[in-house]
Symmetry: D2
Subunit: 118 residues, 4 copies
């Protein structure tokens, strides 16, 4: 067992995690409908791209899932949660590129590291 100061790759992964947690917990709960989904996608992308070392954010609101939920409801909107989201975030920290993704898996939104490139 040893303690080392973090590598650039580790710092890049930490930065990528910050972006994911930020995106999710800033926007979870936002009222969303099929009509308002596109503007929310753009705002989520552009706001998180402001954060340091964040080169690209791609957000897709799954309007098929949204419409399926609303079809069983008397409401015409719902609140944003992970089940309606697909997200890819790319971070570049000191030349190390990290690609991360959030997708549904077994009914849960999972955030995972896709690749780490030194």
């Amino acid at each position: 067992m040893s303690t080392d100061s973090p590598t650039d790759a580790e710092a890049a992964c930490f930065e990528a995690g910050i972006k994911f947690g930020s995106l999710y917990h800033q926007f979870a709960g936002t009222p969303v409908s099929p009509d308002s989904a596109p503007s929310l996608e753009t705002a989520m992308e552009e706001s998180i791209e402001n954060q340091p070392h964040c080169t690209d954010v791609t957000v897709t609101v799954r309007t098929d899932e949204l419409e399926a939920v609303l079809a069983e409801s008397t409401a015409d909107y719902t609140e944003l949660t992970g089940r309606f989201l697909e997200v890819e975030i790319v971070v570049d920290y000191e030349g190390c590129e990290v690609v991360t993704r959030m997708e549904m898996e077994d009914g849960y939104p999972l955030m995972r590291l896709e690749s780490v490139r030194d």
Copy 2:
């Protein structure tokens, strides 16, 4: 002193307050820059307009104030707070129209009822 069941005007004012609290506390803290302000304005408007009885939301991010803050900073973005916002929300509840507004006053963002029209 008497307790009455709420009037339509009172219910309309309650609904208008809900929209204001929702808008503010959903989006406060969002990373924002002059470049990303327009997409955030649109997303805030369209998401809150989903809520019941909400007929119109107009959000202006005060980019002049944003630029003044960033000019004194080493960062190129900041977090959304009330000092950067001007908001008007119109609610129609059972034919009663309520107009509400948030603006800075003496250094504080104040939310107030502008008019109640039966």
Copy 3:
């Protein structure tokens, strides 16, 4: 049709709505489990009671509902949404007391005015 400046009762209802929207959209999405529910209840109550004219906030996280959801899940926590909440908020504005409540009704969390007392 006439426009009047708002009555104290209308302003009190507006203030009560602000508190409800704030509480809901500040805390929706918070990770919550039966063990952490009590500290979240207290924090929600005490933070919203800071807001102007807010005399009392009572939050109950429905741990029965929480446990029912978690029993069908592989996770041991979930995210706070309206289905897990019962809330009462009391506002006093210029001597006018408004009591408001959020409860599940037909599967939806409804916020409503309970009483308005001049």
Copy 4:
């Protein structure tokens, strides 16, 4: 340049970042006063400790800074932002322990990796 599948240490750093982004963007904007700070600290700690691989969260609301801000204000509460926070988060992922910290530095709240222990 090479792409490798992430190491456990990198995954641990990613997880730690998620917790930080979650904590910050879930709770930024919460109304807070010196009196309500302790319950908010506890709720922040216990809610984020629910997240996977998160072994310990310590939140200190800097009440000295809070009181300094309120002394210059007509309000008796403000909104939670990074300037009022000191946070330590410990993550254990597959036996790899990561310690992370947020503190003010040159007027900015900086999140950083403190140690990564395989």
